[in-house]
Amino acid sequence: MSMAAGLETLHYNFTGTQAVGAFAPVLVGVVGSGNLEVLLEPSPGPACRFEVQTSARGFGNIWEAVLRDFHSRHPLAGVVVAIHDMGATPAVVSLRLAQAAAALP
C-alpha cells in the first residue's frame, strides 16, 4: 500500500456580492478526526475562493454542493476560505462554515 494517496486538494471559486473589506483572520474548528479547521482571510477582488485540503478522497461533488449552498446563504466577496479537513461529515463542515461566517465583522 502506498502512503502517497494522502490529501486531496480541491479549489472552488464563487463570485460574491457581500464585500467584507479588511478583517482580522477568523479561525474555527480544529484539525482532528471527523473534524476540520476553517480559516477566513481577506483577499483582493470580488471572488470568494475556497481551498480545501481533505484526507477523505473522492467527495468533490459533495464539497462543491456544500460550499455552493454556503455561498448562496453568505455571498461573501474578497475572502479566501482555507479548509483543512480530517473526514468531517457535511453536517460538521456546514456548521463550521456558519460559525466562521457569524464571526465576521
Binding site: I62, A65, T89, P90, A91, V92, L95, Q99, A102
Partner: protein, 553 residues
C-alpha cells in the same frame, strides 16, 4: 364407544416431569452439579423452551447447562425468548438441541443468526417486538419449560429479581399457569429476601449459579462522545418539537442523539422557559444522562424496562422519581413499560440506520438478522388509544385536517420522530432510495422486509439540516420532497426538487434551524449539562457509580 376425553394432558405431563426430577433435587433446591440431570428430567424433545435472554441480565448458567445436554436425548426444541445475547443462545441450534426460534432481538448475535438461518440450521417462526412475543406467550407460544434468572431466592423458592426484573414476571406467569416447569438460577440463597418479585408457588426449581449472572450496561452514554452536531439537533428537537407540541410524556431511544437532548434540558430548554412544560413523565431505562435533568427538578416520574448498572444507589435515593420496592431497590418490568411506552407516551424519538423516500425506517443491514426489540411498539401510533392530551390532539389535527370521511374523523396521533445525521460514520448515507431490508427479506426468505418503523407512523424526521413535519404532507409526492428536503448532501438529498422544497419550507412543513430561531453558534459542547462521566457522578452527588469501563479519571 368413545374413550373418555382427557382434559389434563398438560398437568399429567408436568407431574411426570416432576417425578423424574425427584432424584435431582432436594425439594426445590438443585445442586449446581446436578443441573444437567435436572434439565434432562424436565425437558422433553420438541418442547417450547424459554431460556431467559433479556436485554440486560442473562440466565447464563442455565444456558450453558442446556447446550451441554445430549442432543440424542433432547432435541427439536422450540426456543421462545426475547433476546439472543449469548453465544449459547445459538449454540443450542448448532449442536442440534433446538430447531425452531421465535424471538425479538439478536443484536450481538445477528450475523451468526443470519448464517445459521441460511444454512438451514434454524427455522425462524417470526421476529416479534417484545410486547408481541410476551403476548404470544399467553396465546400460542406458551413455554413448556422456562429457564429464568433472578438475583436471590429464599429457602421456599421465592425470588428477588433485583432492579433488573425485566422479562421475568411475564415469562413465569405464562409458564406457571399453563402447567409448565419453571427453573430459576440465582446468585445467592438467603434466609430473608429484600422483597418477593416472584412467589415461590410459581417456581419449581432453584439452582445457585457458581458465578453471578451476566449483565450488560447497555444504556450508559459517555457525554464526552456527544458531538456538536448532536447538540445542534437536540436544540432543534427541543425548540421545534418538544416546545411546539408541549410534550410531557415520552420515551427516548438509547443513542447519543437523545442523550444530548437529556443533557440540554437543564441548560438550553431551561433558558427557553420550558421547565414544567415538557419532559415530565418518562418510560425510560434509568439513563445516567438523565441525572442532571432529574437533579434540576425537571422529571416527575420514570418507569423502566430494565435497570442500569451503577444507578442502583441513585435510584434508591430518588423514590419519588423511580418505581421502587418497599426495600428501596428498583423494580423494572419490560412488559408493563412497553405497554406504557405504547399507550401512555405522546412522543417517541430515536435514531435509525436507513430512511427511504416513504420515511420507512430500518436498522436491518445485509448479512445480519437483528430483530427490533421494543422500537416498533414505541415508534408506532397506538391505534387503540382513546385518552386525549393536548400533544396527541395537535398531532392528530395536523394529520387529519381537511381529510374526508373515516380518514378525517377526529382523533389524536402519537409523535414518532426519527433523528439522524444525514451521513453516518465513513460517509454512509442515512437516506436511501431502497432500504437494505428488502434485499435482506429476499435473502432470509422473510414474509416482509424488516422495517423497524413504518413511514406512515413517522411524524417527523430531524437531521442537522432541519425538521420535516410529515403530518402536514397531503400527498406521496409532498412526503418524498419533505424527506429529500432534510436529507442534506446524500444522493437522496441532492436529487430534491428545490422549488418544491422551498414551497414546503414556506408552509412550515420543513423548518431549518434559522426558521426555528435556533442559533447554531450556541451549538457547542459547553451547552451540555454534563460533558463527561465524572460530571454525571458529580451531578448525582456521588450516588451514581459507573462501571469500571466508563471510569476514565
Amino acid at each position: 364407544m368413545n374413550a373418555p376425553v382427557v382434559w389434563d394432558h398438560q398437568r399429567r405431563s408436568r407431574d411426570r416431569r416432576l417425578t423424574r426430577a425427584r432424584d435431582c433435587a432436594a425439594g426445590k433446591h438443585v445442586d449446581a452439579a446436578a443441573i444437567g440431570a435436572l434439565l434432562r428430567a424436565v425437558i422433553e424433545p420438541g418442547d417450547r423452551v424459554c431460556l431467559e435472554g433479556n436485554n440486560q441480565k442473562q440466565a447464563d448458567f442455565l444456558a450453558r447447562a442446556l447446550t451441554a445436554l445430549d442432543p440424542a436425548a433432547v432435541n427439536g426444541l422450540h426456543m421462545v425468548q426475547s433476546v439472543l445475547a449469548l453465544p449459547e443462545h445459538l449454540d443450542v441450534f448448532e449442536n442440534g438441541i433446538a430447531a425452531k426460534l421465535d424471538f425479538s432481538f439478536s443484536g450481538p448475535q445477528g450475523a451468526r443468526l443470519a448464517r445459521l438461518v441460511s444454512a438451514g440450521r434454524i427455522d425462524i417462526g417470526a421476529i416479534h417486538t417484545y410486547l408481541e412475543l410476551f403476548a404470544r406467550y399467553f396465546v400460542d407460544l406458551t413455554p413448556d419449560v422456562a429457564l429464568i434468572c433472578a438475583q436471590a431466592a429464599d429457602r421456599d423458592g421465592n425470588l428477588y429479581t433485583g432492579a433488573n426484573t425485566e422479562d421475568t414476571p411475564a415469562i413465569v406467569e405464562a409458564t406457571a399457569f399453563k402447567s409448565g416447569i419453571v427453573v430459576a438460577q440465582v446468585n445467592e440463597i438467603v434466609d430473608r429476601l429484600p422483597r418477593v418479585d416472584v412467589p415461590a408457588g410459581w417456581v419449581d426449581f432453584v439452582v445457585q449459579s457458581p458465578k453471578p449472572h451476566f449483565i450488560e450496561p447497555l444504556f450508559t452514554r459517555d457525554p464526552a462522545q456527544i458531538s456538536e452536531i448532536q447538540v445542534l439537533m437536540a436544540m432543534m428537537a427541543i425548540k421545534g418539537i418538544y416546545a411546539e407540541y408541549g410534550v410531557q410524556r415520552l420515551n427516548h431511544g438509547i443513542g447519543f442523539d437523545t442523550a444530548a437532548i437529556e443533557l440540554l434540558l437543564p441548560t438550553y430548554a431551561e433558558s427557553l422557559g420550558l421547565k414544567g412544560k415538557i419532559c415530565r413523565h418518562w418510560a425510560l431505562n434509568p439513563h445516567p444522562a438523565l441525572i442532571p435533568a432529574i437533579e434540576a427538578g425537571w422529571v416527575r416520574s420514570v418507569h423502566s424496562f430494565g435497570s442500569e448498572m451503577g444507578m442502583e444507589d441513585y435510584i434508591r435515593a430518588r423514590p419519588d422519581v423511580f418505581f421502587t420496592g418497599h426495600d428501596g431497590s428498583m423494580r423494572s418490568h419490560r412488559a408493563f413499560c412497553q405497554a406504557a411506552g405504547h399507550y401512555a407516551c405522546d412522543l417517541f424519538i430515536g435514531s435509525t440506520l436507513q430512511i427511504d423516500l416513504c420515511a420507512n425506517s430500518s436498522t436491518a443491514t445485509l448479512g445480519r438478522i437483528a430483530g427490533f426489540g421494543g422500537a416498533p411498539n414505541m415508534g408506532a401510533d397506538a391505534r387503540g388509544r382513546r385518552h386525549a392530551s393536548e400533544t396527541w390532539l395537535k398531532a392528530g389535527r395536523e394529520a387529519r385536517d381537511g381529510l374526508p370521511g373515516a380518514r378525517g374523523t377526529p382523533r389524536g396521533q402519537k409523535l414518532v420522530v426519527q433523528m439522524v445525521e444525514t451521513f453516518r460514520e465513513h460517509m454512509e448515507p442515512a437516506f436511501v432510495e431502497t432500504l437494505d431490508a428488502w434485499q435482506l427479506a429476499e435473502q432470509a426468505k422473510m414474509p416482509l422486509p424488516p422495517i423497524m418503523i413504518y413511514g406512515d407512523d413517522v411524524t417527523h424526521i430531524l437531521t442537522e439540516e432541519g425538521i420535516a413535519n410529515l403530518l402536514l404532507c397531503r400527498s406521496d409526492e409532498e412526503r418524498e420532497q419533505a424527506v429529500r428536503g432534510v436529507a442534506g448532501y446524500t444522493a437522496v438529498g441532492l436529487a430534491r426538487d428545490r422549488r418544491a422544497v422551498e414551497n414546503l419550507r414556506d408552509r412550515g412543513v420543513i423548518r431549518r434551524a434559522e426558521d426555528l430561531g435556533v442559533d447554531s453558534r450556541l451549538a457547542t459542547r459547553n451547552l451540555l449539562a454534563a460533558r463527561s462521566m465524572r460530571d454525571l457522578v458529580d451531578a448525582s452527588g456521588g450516588l451514581y457509580a459507573p462501571p469500571g469501563r466508563f471510569r476514565n479519571w
